[in-house]
């Protein structure tokens, strides 16, 4: 590393120019990006499991088709992000290995179980909703391929949140039992959705450098506040009760004040003790192993084709 390289890099960062794969970048910047983008990719992929749990039991063909489309999108998001991450010099198989060994994390929200159909609505509305707040901000991230991936993903996400809210609305305006189911899903998913933004800025290990390098553009707490603010009205329109009894409008701040989160639960789930941590990785491993024959078939086909070509040429 020479000073001029580092200076040139920092000049681009402060001028809001994107960093592209072939540009010089500090090792720590590269590492930081690989950690964040691969974690994001893993979240898209693992996130298919809680929703997939309800595919065969969706209440109507319409809901089933919608859910199938949404889950298909998430697989695509995983693919965009793995590809963006590969431009930094890590291979797909390395990333998958890190996920399966636990070296790489994914969003803790997906370690919560989906107990009822209402959970599927709550996930689309709240979990995708929180993801959108974060991803809209990341459209301005300093790494070009990540930024372009985020722009593509954000275009697809709006449908995810709206279908979830629509499903919640149907339940909330339905029978007593359905309304209770919607309330229960809201009560269980509201808090973990807020935790998706990560620890308080003061506790966040990677935050400061990430902000300096403009990998992250807004702090965890600021993004969380945005989500808290936008969700109040949405709960009201559903006619459900807000899970946070301390939610109050603060005129001075121009934001809602809210309760602090249960950070013990947050760290405990991150450290592997959520309801579904083990199940999620076991399922991923099993699916990966069961898919071995597909990967083998692709390689065999390629070799066969190559041999045929060589024969023709000879």
């Amino acid at each position: 590393m020479t000073t001029s390289q580092e200076e040139n890099f920092m000049r681009k960062i402060s001028a809001e120019e994107k960093i592209e794969p072939k540009d010089w970048m500090p090792d720590a910047y590269r590492k930081n990006l690989i950690r964040q983008i691969s974690q994001h990719a893993h979240s898209e992929v693992i996130g298919m499991q809680p929703e997939g749990n309800w595919l065969t039991r969706a209440p109507s063909l319409r809901r089933k088709a919608i859910l199938l489309s949404k889950i298909q999108d998430e697989a695509g998001h995983g693919l965009y992000l793995y590809s963006a991450c590969e431009t930094l010099g890590i291979s797909r198989s390395e990333m998958i290995e890190q996920l399966q060994s636990g070296a790489a994390k994914y969003s803790s929200i997906f370690n919560y179980p989906t107990l009822t159909w209402a959970d599927v609505g709550a996930i689309g509305w709240l979990v995708d909703g929180a993801a959108i707040v974060n991803q809209v901000s990341l459209q301005r991230t300093s790494y070009g391929p990540y930024s372009r991936g985020m722009i593509r993903i954000c275009k697809e996400e709006s449908f995810h949140q709206r279908q979830g809210y629509e499903a919640m609305l149907a339940l909330a305006k339905g029978s007593e039992g359905q309304k209770a189911m919607a309330q229960d899903a809201l009560d269980r998913f509201y808090w973990p959705a807020l935790m998706m933004f990560g620890p308080h800025d003061s506790e966040s290990a990677h935050s400061q450098k990430s902000m300096e390098w403009k990998i992250k553009r807004e702090t965890n707490d600021d993004l969380r506040q945005k989500f808290v603010d936008q969700t109040v009205k949405q709960i009201e329109v559903l006619g459900l009760e807000h899970p946070d009894k301390n939610i109050t409008w603060n005129d001075e701040r121009g934001h809602y004040d809210s309760s602090d989160l249960n950070w013990d639960e947050f760290w405990s789930v991150i450290n592997g003790n959520g309801h579904c941590n083990r199940q999620r990785i076991e399922h991923h491993l099993a699916a990966h192993e069961e898919g071995e024959w597909v990967r083998d078939a692709i390689t065999a086909y390629n070799e066969k084709k190559r041999a045929k070509k060589a024969q023709h040429a000879a």
Partner: protein, 97 residues
């Protein structure tokens, strides 16, 4: 008689107009090799600060779908309107999600 362009290879040129944006196809040109193609592309396609980065790809290396086959090659999913955000009718106060 073979003309000079027949002896040269055809390259497709992609230009990134601004850092952070995708490379866009701008046209093609004949050149002896990749290096020459890059220089010709610079001279030909970026005379008015059109770009900050150029890609050149041999046209023969591009594998393209046929537009005439579009109907059967792409499924436009017109029968799946629920893939669009606008399909979901929500009450006005929350319609901005």
């Amino acid at each position: 008689m073979t003309t000079i362009t027949e002896k040269l290879e055809l390259f497709e040129v992609f230009v990134r107009s601004k850092r952070g944006l995708d490379h866009k196809h701008v046209g093609s040109l004949h050149a002896e090799d990749h290096e020459q193609a890059l220089e010709y592309a610079r001279d030909c396609y970026t005379r008015r600060s059109e770009g900050v980065s150029i890609w050149v790809v041999k046209s023969s290396d591009i594998c393209a779908s046929q537009e005439d086959d579009a109907d059967c090659f792409y499924d436009p999913s017109d029968d799946k309107p629920y893939r669009h955000a606008t399909y979901y009718v929500l009450p006005d106060p929350v319609n901005n999600m």
